[in-house]
Structure formats: structure tokens, C-alpha cells
Symmetry: C2
Subunit: 211 residues, 2 copies
């Protein structure tokens, strides 16, 4: 094992620890939300002392921002890996399903929904904003394509569709159905897809078979 190998091992250990911290942060953000999560919580969840976290992240805000950046990267990667021949509306449905399943597994939506404080923090990060704009551009293009193919409502402006779509990825109805309903994850995802694309009004629901 060469010196280079040893250095890599140490770097790997550092990275592993960093990922463990980010995992714990994501889990706690989903459970408690940004305003109630504490660095003590994260430290305890990882199994380190609080000051040790500051070897990896310079502040709580830095930590949360990096966790959210990782989520956005996940969504961008997911979009990238969808088959090129997939119809635009199917892309949107697939990403929505992915996001909902992440949430049902205890994860976070890839965009913060309502917390103005989080938003203020995140928009201070160029790395975060760059990714969010990239994702938005890609989804906007997909929406435009889907409209052209009569897959999405042409009566709704793109930004209305996009913001509503984002809101469906973090729809609180998911938690309520989980807590108070009798549905498994597949059923919840299916219903949420219907609600997103066909609404709750009378019409022809367009269910997508769960993957």
C-alpha cells in the first residue's frame, strides 16, 4: 500500500464521515424541519461530538445548504438517467414518483416548500442557486415540450405548472395519507400522480402504473 493509497484512505474516511453527517442531517431535516434541527441533534445522530462537525462544515447553514445541494444533484442525476425516448409528461411523472418515494422513505423533497428562512439561507449559496436554476431550466423545457405534444394543459402558464409541480413533490397530503389513511406507498404515489395531473375534479384520471 503506497503513500498515495494511504492518503486516499484518509480522504475516503473523511468523505465517509461527511456523507454520514449529510445523511443524518437529511433525516433530521425531514423529521424536524430546518428551524428545529440542532447541531447537537446531528452530532448525536452521527455519533460524533458537535465540534467535530465543524471539521467538515463551517456552520449549520453550510451543512444544511450542502445537504440540499446533494438532493438537487440527486434530482438532476435522476432526470439525466431517464431514457431519451421517454415522453416529456412521463419524465415529469417519473421524477414526481421518485421524489415522493424518497419522501416516503424518510427523505426530503428536493426543493424547500414554504420555509422562508431556509430559502433565505439557500439563496446565499451560489452553488445551490446554480443547481436550482439548472433544474428549473430543464423542467421548463420539458413542460414546453409536453405542452407542444398536448400532454399538459395549454391554458396554464409554464411557471404556474412548474410551481405547482414543485409543490406536488412536497405535498403534505403524503404525510397525512401515511398517518391517517390505509394506503401503502404504491397507492399513495398513484393517487398523488392523479391529483397532480388530473386534479380532484371529475375527469378522466390518467393513472401511471407504479414502477
Amino acid at each position: 500500500m503506497s503513500v498515495l493509497g494511504k492518503l486516499r484512505f484518509k480522504d475516503q474516511a473523511f468523505k465517509l464521515r461527511e456523507d454520514a453527517i449529510l445523511d443524518a442531517t437529511t433525516k433530521l431535516l425531514a423529521a424536524k424541519g430546518f428551524d428545529l434541527i440542532t447541531m447537537d441533534d446531528v452530532a448525536e445522530e452521527v455519533g460524533l461530538s458537535k465540534p467535530s462537525l465543524y471539521k467538515h462544515f463551517k456552520s449549520k447553514e453550510d451543512l444544511v445548504t450542502e445537504a440540499m445541494i446533494r438532493l438537487l444533484d440527486g434530482a438532476l442525476a435522476y432526470l439525466d438517467e431517464l431514457p431519451a425516448e421517454m415522453a416529456p409528461v412521463e419524465r415529469l411523472k417519473s421524477l414526481l414518483e421518485w421524489a415522493l418515494r424518497v419522501r416516503l422513505a424518510g427523505g426530503l423533497p428536493f426543493l424547500p416548500s414554504t420555509n422562508t428562512h431556509v430559502r433565505a439561507v439557500l439563496t446565499q449559496s451560489l452553488r445551490y442557486v446554480t443547481r436550482a436554476l439548472k433544474l428549473n431550466r430543464q423542467l421548463d423545457a420539458i413542460v414546453t415540450d409536453a405542452k407542444r405534444k398536448a400532454e399538459l394543459s395549454s391554458a396554464l402558464p409554464n411557471d404556474v405548472i412548474l410551481f405547482s409541480y414543485y409543490a406536488r413533490t412536497c405535498d403534505p397530503a403524503v404525510e397525512y395519507l401515511r398517518l391517517f389513511g390505509k394506503y401503502d406507498d404504491d397507492a399513495i404515489v398513484l393517487h398523488m400522480q392523479v391529483v397532480c395531473f388530473a386534479g380532484i375534479g371529475a375527469g378522466s384520471p390518467q393513472p401511471r402504473q407504479p414502477g
Copy 2:
């Protein structure tokens, strides 16, 4: 002016102060959220010292619970005053419009959407839970009626419809469209109604003319 009149005047002053406190609380809850709102904030907004708030409410939780109860009472009252001959789906649309306009005016949705901490606090109050269940029963009956009249999707279970409906009353897309779009309140309400009842997919939108 009789002694009784004086007592009533004092009671009125007390009630006026209490309403001012609740107004301030509602405004701050909408702006900062439950976890970031402080009693100092409320006191400053009202123009009293913090300890004075405790003459009216025994804790921060009591204050917030009463503010939310007042909102629920508002929603129940609004439902009550709708014309008896109004179609069920129109009732739902009317209440959604009311809720959205309240929010666009700086107010709060009548049900908390995602904050588990708020929910835990509110469910400790019998007065709150009683009202929430009452509203839910009324809306469930309306949904059942609307389904019978083929106004709502019969493919979606009632609770899916209801939780989605509640989520639309606090849809974060409203804030985003307000912040980043070029829409006035009427347009936002109209779009949100379409998104709620017809979804974002291709179909026949069922716009309701803004009142």
C-alpha cells in the same frame, strides 16, 4: 353610564386587546412560521410588553392555538354562510378561493400544512380538535355529495381528495407566483382553482370566474 356599562367597557377593552394580539400573531405566523415567531415579536407588533401578553394567554402555545382556532372558526363560518342551493363543488371552490385570498392578504391557511411541531401543539387542544373534526366532517359530506353528482373524481377516495384539498389551501405555489410571477391576486386564485380541480395535465380546465 351604569356600573354594568363600565364593566362592559372594560371587557370590551380586554377583548379588543386580545383581538389585537391574535391579529399580530396571525400576521407573524404567516410571515415567520410557528418555530421562528417569538413572544417578543408579538409584543412588539401589538405595542405591549411581553409579560402583558400573559394576561390574555397562558403560554405561547395557548396563543398560537387560539389564533388557529379563530381561523378554523372563520372557515366554518364562511361555509355556513354559503347559499343552501350552491352546488357542492362550488362550495369547495368558494372556500378554496376564500382561503387563498386570506393568504394573499397576508393571512394564514386554516390548517397547518407540514409543521409537525405545530400539529403536536394543536392536537393537545380539545377546542381545536373539535373544530377541525367538525370542519372535516362537513367537507367530507360535501365531497361525498359532489361525487354523487359527478362533480368530483369517483376514482379518488374521499380522504385523498380531502387531504389534497387542504394542501391546496396552503399551496406554496401561491407565494412563488406572487414573488416570481407577474400575476395579480385574481389570476393566482384562478390558476390555483384550475390546478386543484383539473390538475396540470391536458384536459378541460374548469375555470371559476373570480368573485
